[in-house]
C-alpha cells in the first residue's frame, strides 16, 4: 500500500527533481561567470569557494572597460553582427522562397550546394581567405568581415527558412492573390508575418556566429581600431594571466547581450518553434 503511494509520489517527483538537477548543471557555469566577476579578489582565490558574492564589487568590470579601444571594439562588433544578420536574412528569404515555392531546373543542385556549404570549415581556410582579402586590398576593414559572416550563416538560414516558408499554407497566399494582391504584396502582407518567428529563430544563429567569430578577424584586421570583441576577450585571457576576476568580467560583458537576446527572442520564437518548427 504505502509502497504504491511512494511509487506514485516517485513518478510524480522524479521529472521535477531531474529538471532541477539539469537546470543547475546548465546554469552553474553561467552563474559562476557572473558571480566571479562580481567578487573581490580575496573571495575569488579563497581556499573555500565563496558561493555567493556577498560583498559585490564592480572593480573588475571597471578594469575591463578601461581597456584600450573598448568602445570602438563594441561598436565594431555590434555593426558587423547586425549587418551580417540582416544581410543574411534578406538574402536567405529570397532564396528560401524560391526553393520552397517554385519548381525549376537545377533546384536540387542548389539545395545540395547549400547543404555542402554548411560544412565549410572556415577556421582552416583562414590563410586562403587572408590572401584573397589582402590581394583585394581590403584588410583592416569591416566590410569583408561582414560579408564572410553573412555567408557563414547563410546556408543554414536558407535551409531553415525554406521549411518555414513551406509551412505557410498555400491557400492563404493564393486567396491573397485572388484578392488582388500581386505576388510581392501577397508575400509582404500574408507570408511575412507568418514567417516572423522563423526569422527570429534563424537570426539567433547568425547573432551567435558573427558575435563569436575569432580566427578570421585575428588575421584580417591587425589594426586595433578595426578589431572586434572576441579579440579583446582573448587578450584578457593571456595578458591578465590568472586574474580570473577581470577575465570573468570580460566574459560576462561579452556574453550578456547574446544571453539577453536569446532569452528575449526565445520566448517570442517559441510560438514559431511549435507551429512551424519541426517542419521549420
Amino acid at each position: 500500500m504505502s509502497r504504491t503511494v511512494k511509487g506514485r509520489l516517485f513518478t510524480r517527483l522524479w521529472p521535477n527533481a531531474t529538471a532541477l538537477l539539469l537546470f543547475t548543471g546548465f546554469v552553474f557555469p553561467v552563474y559562476w561567470m557572473f558571480s566571479t566577476a562580481l567578487k573581490p579578489d580575496s573571495d575569488i582565490i579563497s581556499e573555500e569557494p565563496v558561493w555567493f558574492p556577498s560583498s559585490p564589487t564592480f572593480e573588475h568590470f571597471a578594469t575591463v572597460v578601461r581597456a584600450e579601444n573598448f568602445w570602438s571594439l563594441v561598436r565594431n562588433s555590434v555593426t558587423v553582427t547586425l549587418l551580417a544578420v540582416g544581410l543574411s536574412l534578406l538574402i536567405a528569404l529570397f532564396a528560401a522562397f524560391a526553393l520552397a515555392r517554385m519548381r525549376f531546373r537545377g533546384r536540387r543542385s542548389v539545395v545540395l550546394t547549400f547543404m555542402v556549404a554548411q560544412m565549410a570549415p572556415w577556421e582552416v581556410m583562414v590563410i586562403a581567405i587572408y590572401m584573397t582579402v589582402r590581394d583585394a586590398d581590403m584588410l583592416n576593414s569591416l566590410v569583408p568581415l561582414t560579408l564572410f559572416y553573412t555567408v557563414m550563416v547563410l546556408p543554414l538560414t536558407i535551409l531553415t527558412l525554406r521549411s518555414y516558408v513551406a509551412a505557410v499554407p498555400k491557400e492563404l497566399e493564393e486567396s491573397a492573390m485572388v484578392d488582388g494582391c500581386g505576388r510581392t504584396q501577397a508575400f509582404r502582407k500574408v507570408i511575412f508575418p507568418l514567417l516572423a518567428p522563423g526569422l527570429m529563430a534563424t537570426s539567433l544563429f547568425g547573432f551567435i556566429t558573427a558575435w563569436n567569430e575569432f580566427p578570421m578577424v585575428l588575421i584580417l584586421n591587425k589594426d586595433p581600431h578595426a578589431q572586434t570583441l572576441p579579440l579583446w576577450l582573448s587578450r584578457f585571457q593571456t595578458a591578465f594571466g590568472d586574474d580570473w576576476g577581470a577575465t570573468m568580467a570580460a566574459a560576462s560583458l561579452f556574453a550578456l547581450p547574446i544571453l539577453l537576446l536569446f532569452l528575449y527572442l526565445q520566448r517570442k520564437a517559441v510560438g514559431g518553434l511549435t507551429a512551424g518548427a519541426v517542419k521549420g
Binding site: A128, L154, F205, L233, G276
Partner: protein, 326 residues
C-alpha cells in the same frame, strides 16, 4: 532556432494538388515565371560562390604550393605538385589525428543526441512552470558565446582555486584537490567534451520538445484504444514521428562537432603534446602555427574531403527526400 527537417510531415499541408497556373510548383518548370526563381536565388548563390567558393578554390591551389614565410611575404608562387599531399598522407600523425577526429565526433554526437533527446522528452513531461525554468537554463547555456564558454570552463577546471577540484576534494577525492585537468589527453578531452555537450544539448532538447508538440493527439488516443502501453505508444507514435528530426539534427551535429575548433583550441591548444588535436586544429597548427601554409591548406582540403565522405550517406538520403518534396 530550429532545424529544417524537410522529411517531416508538415503540420499544415496545402490541399490543391493540381498544378497552379501562376507558379506551377508541382508541374513542369513554368515557362513564364522561369526566370524568377533564379533571380531570387542569385544573391545567395553569388555570395556563396564569391565568398566561399573562391576561398575554397584558392585553398585548393595553395595546397599544391610550397608556401612558407618567405613565399607569403614575397608573394611568390612555388608549385610543388602533390608534395604536400604525399607528405601528409604518408605521415603517421595525420592518420592518428583523423582517427581521433572521427572518434571524437562519434562519441560527442552520441552523447549530445542521447542527452538532448532525453532532456527534450523530459521537457514534454514537465509542468509548465518547471518547463519554463529548465528552458531558461537550457537557453542560457545555448546562448553562451563559445569564447566566453571556454574561458569559464578554464576557470571552473583551474588547477588552483578551480571550483571543480574543490568540490571533488570536498566529496572525498582528495587526490583531485590540485588536479591538473589539461595535463593529460583523456582529462583534457573530458573537459572539452563536457563543454561541447553543455553547449550543444540545449539545441537538440529545445527543438525536440518543439517537435513533440506537433504530434497530433489523435495518434496517441488511437494507440491507447489499441491497448498500447506507454512504452509501446512511445515506440509506435513518438519515435517514428521524431525520426526525421533526429536524422537531420544528427547530421548537423556531426558537421558542427567534426569542425569544432574554438572549443578545442581555446581549452589547451591541442595539447598536451598535441594529443588533443583534431583535424581542424591539426591543420591550423601545421599551417598557421608552423607557418607551413601550403601544408596546412593540403590538410584542410583533406579535412573537407573526409567530412564530405562521412556525410555522403546523409546527403544522398536528403537528396532522395528532395525528389519527393513539393
Amino acid at each position: 532556432m530550429s532545424v529544417q527537417t524537410h522529411e517531416a510531415p508538415p503540420p499544415v499541408r496545402s490541399t490543391p494538388r493540381q498544378p497552379h497556373p501562376e507558379d506551377g510548383p508541382r508541374g513542369k518548370p513554368d515557362p513564364r515565371g522561369g526566370g524568377l526563381p533564379y533571380l531570387l536565388l542569385l544573391p545567395a548563390l553569388a555570395a556563396t560562390a564569391v565568398l566561399l567558393g573562391w576561398p575554397l578554390v584558392t585553398n585548393g591551389l595553395l595546397s599544391f604550393q610550397n608556401l612558407n614565410m618567405a613565399q607569403l611575404i614575397q608573394h611568390v608562387t612555388e608549385w610543388t605538385g602533390t608534395d604536400n599531399y604525399r607528405d601528409t598522407l604518408g605521415s603517421e600523425d595525420f592518420w592518428r589525428v583523423t582517427l581521433r577526429s572521427v572518434l571524437f565526433t562519434v562519441v560527442n554526437v552520441f552523447l549530445i543526441m542521447l542527452c538532448g533527446t532525453l532532456t527534450g522528452l523530459l521537457l514534454a513531461r514537465l509542468g509548465s512552470r518547471m518547463r519554463l525554468l529548465l528552458s531558461v537554463g537550457l537557453v542560457l547555456a545555448w546562448a553562451m558565446p563559445v569564447i566566453a564558454g571556454t574561458t569559464v570552463y578554464q576557470w571552473l577546471f583551474a588547477q588552483r582555486f578551480g571550483v571543480v577540484n574543490w568540490v571533488l576534494d570536498a566529496a572525498g577525492f582528495h587526490s583531485m584537490a590540485d588536479y591538473n585537468w589539461t595535463g593529460g589527453q583523456l582529462s583534457t578531452f573530458f573537459v572539452i567534451s563536457l563543454l561541447i555537450v553543455w553547449t550543444s544539448v540545449p539545441f537538440v532538447a529545445v527543438n525536440l520538445y518543439a517537435a513533440t508538440t506537433t504530434i497530433p493527439r489523435e495518434l496517441y488516443e488511437a494507440a491507447a484504444l489499441d491497448g498500447a502501453s506507454a512504452r509501446q505508444s512511445f515506440m509506435t507514435v513518438t519515435l517514428p514521428f521524431l525520426k526525421p528530426f533526429l536524422l537531420v539534427t544528427t547530421f548537423l551535429e556531426v558537421i558542427w562537432i567534426f569542425k569544432a575548433f574554438p572549443h578545442i583550441f581555446a581549452i589547451n591548444e591541442g595539447g598536451p603534446d598535441r594529443l588533443t588535436e583534431t583535424l581542424p586544429v591539426y591543420a591550423f597548427v601545421e599551417g598557421v602555427g608552423n607557418q607551413h601554409y601550403g601544408m596546412g591548406a593540403a590538410i584542410s582540403v583533406l579535412t573537407i574531403l573526409i567530412l564530405l565522405a562521412l556525410m555522403s550517406y546523409h546527403l544522398r538520403l536528403a537528396m532522395r527526400q528532395e525528389e519527393d518534396e513539393l
